[in-house]
Symmetry: C2
Subunit: 507 residues, 2 copies
C-alpha cells in the first residue's frame, strides 16, 4: 500500500491532473470572490460588467475542464481509478465527475446561465425591497427554464429534480427523500399543538429588549473564537443575510445578522456560520487547490452548522455557559433572568414566517414547502408567475399563517435567484445527519455536556475535524455517514432528539 | 471618413480584436478586484492562496495577449493602423502596445512578479506596523531585482528607469524629467522660508479639534455627490490609505481616511479620490471592456485628482461654499472661525513627514526624493538594505526633519510594495498638468469661481468630461495636453499658480 502511495504521488498523470485542477480551482475561487463581492460591496449599477467578468471566468474554467487535455487525462484516469491510495482516488474521482458533468453542458449554456444568475440576484434584491414580485418574475422564469435545460443535459432516470439535487447531495433523489419528508411533516404537525402549548407559558420578552449592536458583534466574535474558528485565516462581518464563503481553507468568511431588538439573531447566526467555517478551515492541507478542498456535500455542510447552532448551542449546558457572558455585557436587559429561563426562551416553539428565524421543530415545514414547490416547478406542474399565490396558500395550510409581504413570503431567500434548485432539501438532510452524528459524539466523548457547560469546545471541534472536516470531499456523503455511524440514513435519531428537546422545555 | 468608419466598425479584424480584448479586460478587472480585496477585507493568513489566484489570472491574461491568435491579429493590425477612425485606431494602438510589451516578458517572469508583489504587500504591512524594515527588506530586494529584470526585458536606450516610467506615463523619461524636477526643487526651497514666514501667523488649531467620524464621512459623501460622482456606479468606504480603483466605469470604488482629530483628512482625501473617480466614471461608454477604458496615463489621472483636491477645493471660493456646511455640522469646533480663516488654515505651509498630508508647496519635495531614490535603486547606485538610512539623510537635507519611525519615513507609501517604480513622478506631473488645464478651464468658463462659490460644480465636471474623461486612453498624454492647451509641457503655469496661492495667504 505504501509503495503504491509513493508511486502514485509522483506519477506524471497525477501531476498533470493536479496542475489542471489547481488552475481551475484558482479560477473558481476568484469567481467566488466576485460573487461574494456582489452580495456585500458591489455598487448596484455594476451588474452588467460583473456578469461579463463572471461569464469570462466561468467560460475559461469550463473550457479547461472540458479541454482535449482534460479528455485525455480523463481517459487515462478511467484505467487507474481504484488502484491508488485514497487521496489519489479522491482526486481522480472528483476530476472525472467534474469533467463528465461539465462536458454535458454546452459552453453557450454555461455563459447564459452565469449571466442569468447574476442578473436574477439583482432583480431579486429589488423585488424584495419593493415588495413587487413582478420585478423578479421574468428573470426567475428564465432561470427556471435554464435549470430544466441543465437537468436535461445532465440526464436523469425519473425526475429532472434529481439531476439538480445531485449537485448539492450526490446520489440523493426526490423519490428517496419524499417519503421521509412526509413522515417528518406529519410528525411535526402532530407535535406542533403540544409544543405550542408548552411554549405558551415560556416568557421570551427579554430576548427582544434593546441590545447594543457593537457589543453583540463583539460577543459573536468571542463565541466563534471559543468554538475554534481561526481569525488569521478568516473574518466575521455584519450583513443582512448571514452566510459563509471560502476561497481556500485559508480564507473563510462568515457574516452575521445583528438586530438591535433580537439578541438571538447575532448569536445563533454566528454559531451557525462558524459551524460551516470550521468545516472549511479544517480540511486537510494536502487538498489545497484541488476539488477535494470543499465539503463532502451540502447536506454534510449543513449538518455541521446545524449541529452547532441547534443541538449544541441551544442545549441547557451551552446556555449555562453562554448566559453569564451575556449577562455580564447586558446586565439591565437580562436582569432577573436565569440561564434556565434563557434556555427555554431560545427554544420556544412558535409559528413564524422566516425560515432562518424559525425554531427547531417548525424549521422543516419551511424546507418541505420549498422542496414541494421546486419539484412542481421543475416538472412544470406550476408556473413561476403563480409562485406568490401558491406559496401563501401552502404556507397557510402548513403553518396557519398568511404572509403579508414578499419579504416574509416567497422572496425571503436568495437561493432561487442563485438558481440553486435542490439546495433546500440539504437543510433537512443536515438536521437528520446532525442528529446521527450527535449520538456518535455523545458515545465517543462521554463528558461532552460537561465540556460544553465549561465552554470547553476543543474536544467537539477536534472530533469533527478528525471524523468529518479533514476529509473534505474525499468521501461521498453516504460513505462518510456509514463510516462514522455504521448506518446509512436514519430519521429516528432526529425524531428522538426533537422529542427529548421538547420534554426538556417541560422542566 | 464616414465610410471608413462604418466599414472598420464591422470589420472581422476589429471584431476579433475586440473579442480577445474583452476577455483579457474581464480577467484583468477580476484580478483588480482580488487586489482591492487584499487591501481591504482579506484575512492576513490567506496571502498564499491569493498569490496563487492572482498568478493564475495574470498567467491566463498574459497567455491570451501573447497567444498565436494575438500575434496573427497584431500582424494584421500593423498594416491597418492609422487608416481607420479614431476609435478603431485607439483599439489597435493599445492592443499592439499591450501585445508587444507582454511578448517581451517570459510567462515565468509574470508569475514570479505577481507572486512577489502579493507577498511584498503583506510584508510591507507587517514591517510598517512593527516599525521594522527588516521584515520588508528581503521581499523588497527581490522585487527591485525583478523590476530591473523587467526593464531589461522591455528595453531602454539610456536608463532602466525609463522603461518603468513608461508604464505609467507613456513616452516620459528620467532625463526629460530631471531638469524640470531640479528647477521645481530649487524654486520650492527658494520659496519655503517666505511661505513658512507667511504661515507662522496662520492659526490652524481648530482643524485638529475632535470631529465625529460618522459625521465627517457623511459630509465627505455629500461633497463627492456634489462633485458629480455617481453612487449608482460606485462607492465610498473608509480605509487607512485612501485610494481609488475601478473594475469598469460602472464600478468605481473610492476610499477615504477619516481621522477624528484632523478634519482635513476625510474632506480632501475624498475630493482627491472623487477626482480620480470622475475620470473613470466618465470614460466613453463605447470603450467598455477594452484597453481604452482607463485613463490616458497616471500623470493625467493625478492631474484630475490634484486639480480638484488642491486647486479647486483649496481655493477661497470653495472654502466659502464648504465652510458653512462644515460649521452647520460642527458648530462648537468651528466657533468663531471665518471661512477666510478656514481657507488660510487649510493652505498653511509646513514641513511634515507624510507625503499625502503635505501642503501644496512642499509636496513636490516628497516626490522628488522618491524619484531620486528609485533612479538610484534601479541603476544599482544604492542598495535596498540602505534605504532607511539614505531616506532619512535625504529627507533631512531636503525638509530639515528627521523621521523617527518607518511609518513616517521610508515605509509610509505602499507603492514600492506594489513594485510600482516610476509611479511617483506622475504625481508631480499631475500637478504640472493640472495647472495647465486650470488656465484653460478659467478661460473656457469665465464664471468658474462664481460657480465654485455657489457649490455649482457641474460646469467643471462637464468640461473635464468633454475634454479629458470621455477619451479614456484614446490619446496619449502628450497628444491630449497639446489638443487641450496648445502646449506640450509647461512648468511655468504651475509656478505661477503656486506663487499666486502663496500671495493669497497674505491677504
Amino acid at each position: 500500500m505504501n509503495k503504491i502511495y509513493i508511486r502514485k504521488q509522483n506519477s506524471p498523470l497525477l501531476q498533470d491532473v493536479l496542475n489542471l485542477m489547481n488552475t481551475i480551482k484558482d479560477i473558481q475561487n476568484s469567481a467566488s470572490l466576485l460573487g461574494w463581492d456582489q452580495e456585500t460591496y458591489m455598487p448596484s449599477g455594476s451588474v452588467h460588467p460583473r456578469a461579463n467578468q463572471l461569464v469570462t471566468l466561468e467560460t475559461i474554467a469550463h473550457r479547461l475542464i472540458t479541454s482535449k487535455k482534460a479528455r485525455i487525462l480523463a481517459d487515462k484516469i478511467e484505467s487507474h481509478i481504484g488502484n491508488s491510495n485514497e487521496f489519489v482516488n479522491g482526486i481522480y474521482r472528483t476530476f472525472l465527475k467534474e469533467h463528465k458533468l461539465a462536458a454535458k453542458l454546452p459552453q453557450k449554456f454555461v455563459q447564459k446561465f452565469t449571466k442569468a444568475k447574476t442578473y436574477a440576484i439583482e432583480s431579486w434584491k429589488k423585488a424584495r425591497q419593493a415588495n413587487n414580485y413582478k420585478l423578479f418574475e421574468n428573470d426567475f422564469d428564465y432561470l427556471t427554464n435554464l435549470k430544466i435545460e441543465q437537468a436535461n443535459y445532465y440526464g436523469f432516470s425519473e425526475n429532472p429534480y434529481d439531476a439538480l439535487i445531485d449537485i448539492y447531495e450526490p446520489g440523493m433523489t426526490h423519490s428517496f427523500l419524499k417519503p421521509y419528508f412526509e413522515i417528518i411533516k406529519k410528525k411535526t404537525i402532530d407535535l406542533l399543538d403540544f409544543a405550542l402549548g408548552l411554549s405558551s407559558v415560556i416568557n421570551d420578552d427579554f430576548l427582544f429588549n434593546y441590545y447594543d449592536c457593537d457589543i453583540q458583534f463583539k460577543i459573536a466574535k468571542q463565541i466563534c473564537d471559543k468554538m475554534g474558528f481561526d481569525f488569521y485565516y478568516g473574518r466575521l462581518d455584519k450583513s443582512i443575510h448571514p452566510f459563509t464563503t471560502s476561497f481556500s481553507r485559508r480564507d473563510v468568511r462568515l457574516t452575521v445578522r445583528v438586530l438591535e431588538n433580537d439578541i438571538r439573531s447575532s448569536i445563533y447566526s454566528a454559531i451557525h456560520e462558524a459551524g460551516h467555517g470550521l468545516y472549511e478551515q479544517n480540511i486537510c492541507d494536502e487538498y489545497y487547490r484541488t476539488f477535494l478542498e470543499e465539503g463532502s456535500s451540502m447536506g454534510i455542510h449543513e449538518s455541521q452548522s446545524l449541529l452547532w447552532e441547534k443541538i449544541i448551542a441551544r442545549s441547557l449546558e451551552f446556555s449555562n455557559w453562554l448566559f453569564p457572558l451575556l449577562k455580564e455585557n447586558f446586565p439591565t436587559q437580562l436582569n432577573n433572568v436565569s440561564s434556565l429561563e434563557f434556555f427555554k426562551a431560545i427554544n420556544k416553539i412558535s409559528k413564524s414566517f422566516i425560515r432562518t428565524e424559525s425554531d427547531e421543530l417548525t424549521y422543516n415545514l419551511h424546507i418541505i414547502l420549498r422542496f414541494e414547490l421546486e419539484n412542481d416547478l421543475l416538472n412544470k406542474k406550476i408556473k413561476v408567475r403563480d409562485i406568490p399565490e401558491i406559496w401563501n396558500h401552502k404556507f397557510y395550510e402548513s403553518l396557519g399563517l398568511m404572509p403579508l409581504t414578499m419579504k416574509e413570503g416567497c422572496l425571503q431567500d436568495i437561493h432561487w435567484a442563485h438558481g440553486s434548485f435542490g439546495y433546500f432539501p440539504t437543510y433537512t438532510l443536515g438536521k437528520i445527519y446532525s442528529a446521527m452524528f450527535w449520538n456518535k459524539i455523545q458515545s465517543d466523548i462521554p463528558d461532552v455536556f460537561k465540556h460544553i457547560e465549561n465552554g470547553f469546545f476543543i474536544p467537539i471541534k477536534n472530533w469533527l475535524r478528525d471524523n468529518v472536516h479533514q476529509y473534505g470531499k474525499l468521501y461521498e456523503p453516504k460513505a462518510l455517514i456509514k463510516m462514522l455511524t455504521g448506518k446509512i440514513f436514519d430519521v429516528d435519531d432526529y425524531h428522538l432528539y426533537i422529542q427529548s428537546k421538547l420534554s426538556s422545555l417541560n422542566k
